[in-house]
């Protein structure tokens, strides 16, 4: 089976990685809000959104500009964008920042930034403003103390906005060590989310 200009193997890579990214990304939505992720998904599965994004690309492949990043980045960017757009359309939504207020042109985004960079403001809109992010930072910092690799990754990403490759190079880490430490750091971040979510509900 050969689908379009991509081989089955290439599509397999995209399907698996895009689904993993999206599942990981939507986990952030209920953090600090006391909501359930299912509300955000509007009765659909994550996979429905993944294939809807792929379908849109297949209908209009000309909208994808390889100069701004790979196809996977393009699809990720479109997914986070559509999630935030859906969230804004919900009547009960009073918390998500209206990122589209200054960006309501659906197609003609001639921003010089890459698809990857453009995901940041949409991800920012996923989280409320009225949270003490500094306390969250201190909590994570304390939790990773003594775990050198996790500490370095946290420092590199949080304080210097480094990318994976930069952290690996800067702290002379192997890819495997990075993956393992990142997994431990993710566990701490999830714990922080639960901790501060709980605190918010008891206030």
């Amino acid at each position: 089976m050969n689908t379009g200009t991509l081989t089955d193997e290439e599509w397999e890579d995209i399907v698996v990685r895009l689904t993993a990214f999206t599942r990981s990304w939507v986990r952030g939505k209920p953090w600090f809000r006391g909501e359930k992720t299912s509300t955000f998904l509007m009765g659909k599965e994550v996979e429905d959104y993944v294939f809807a994004a792929i379908g849109k690309y297949l209908e209009h492949p000309e909208k994808f500009d390889p100069n701004q990043g790979g196809l996977l980045e393009y699809l990720k960017y479109n997914l986070v964008r559509s999630f935030i757009a859906n969230d804004l359309r919900k009547k009960e939504n009073k918390q998500t920042d209206d990122i589209f207020a200054e960006d309501n042109d659906d197609e003609d985004e001639e921003s010089a930034s890459s698809y990857s960079e453009r995901m940041l403001p949409y991800t920012d809109a996923l989280f409320p403003d009225d949270i003490d992010y500094n306390s969250i930072k201190e909590y994570i910092e304390k939790e990773v103390q003594g775990d050198a690799d996790a500490e370095n990754i946290f420092l590199g990403i949080y304080s210097y906005a480094m990318k994976r490759r930069e952290v690996i190079e800067e702290f002379t880490m192997t890819a495997v060590a990075y993956n393992n430490a990142m997994r431990r750091l993710t566990t701490v971040i999830n714990r922080a989310a639960a901790h501060f979510n709980k605190n918010k509900q008891t206030v």
Binding site: M1, T3, G4, D8, W11, E12, D13, V15, V16, R17, L18, T19, A20, F21, R23, S24, W25, G28, E47, F51, I54, G55, L58, E59, L72, K76, M119, L120, T123, D124, L126, F127, D129, I131, Y133, N134, I136, K137, I140, F154, I157, Y158, S159, A161, R164, N179, M182, R183, L185, T186, I189
Partner: protein, 136 residues
């Protein structure tokens, strides 16, 4: 939100996005993450490829339909153009053949009927107008 608080949030968002990026940094990392989420990756891939193939076929069919519609409308435009041309009393087929570089098609021009000439010209101008549209 103060600048400092805003920066703290941006830093946190960057960290959060890095975890999602890491979970999808390679096919292996993604499979491992999906397994921890209870997702059957084999099923996801086999059903996914079928869906993609179907969506691709529908998208191709829709594009073909669009192109045919455009071709029909351009053909109408070309027909009107040719009829107008042939109705002009000053019309000279020889001049047109030279101007439009139609020498190949008109090698046996004396054997062609009026209808043949009209059809050849319609085909020629349809293609010409379509090329113009594509180059726009």
């Amino acid at each position: 939100m103060s600048n400092k608080a805003n920066q703290s949030k941006s830093d946190f968002v960057n960290l959060f996005l890095s975890t999602a990026e890491n979970d999808s940094s390679s096919k292996e990392a993604a499979k491992e993450f999906l397994a921890s989420e209870g997702v059957n990756t084999d099923k996801l891939v086999s059903e996914g490829l079928k869906k993609i193939k179907k969506m691709q076929m529908l998208a191709d069919a829709s594009r073909t339909e669009q192109e045919m519609k455009i071709a029909e409308s351009v053909k109408g435009e070309a027909t009107a153009w040719v009829d107008n041309l042939l109705a002009n009393i000053n019309f000279s087929l020889t001049e047109l053949v030279q101007k439009e570089e139609l020498s190949m098609s008109f090698r046996n021009v004396e054997n062609l009927s009026k209808d043949d000439i009209r059809n050849i010209l319609i085909r020629h101008f349809t293609l010409k107008f379509m090329n113009k549209q594509h180059n726009r």
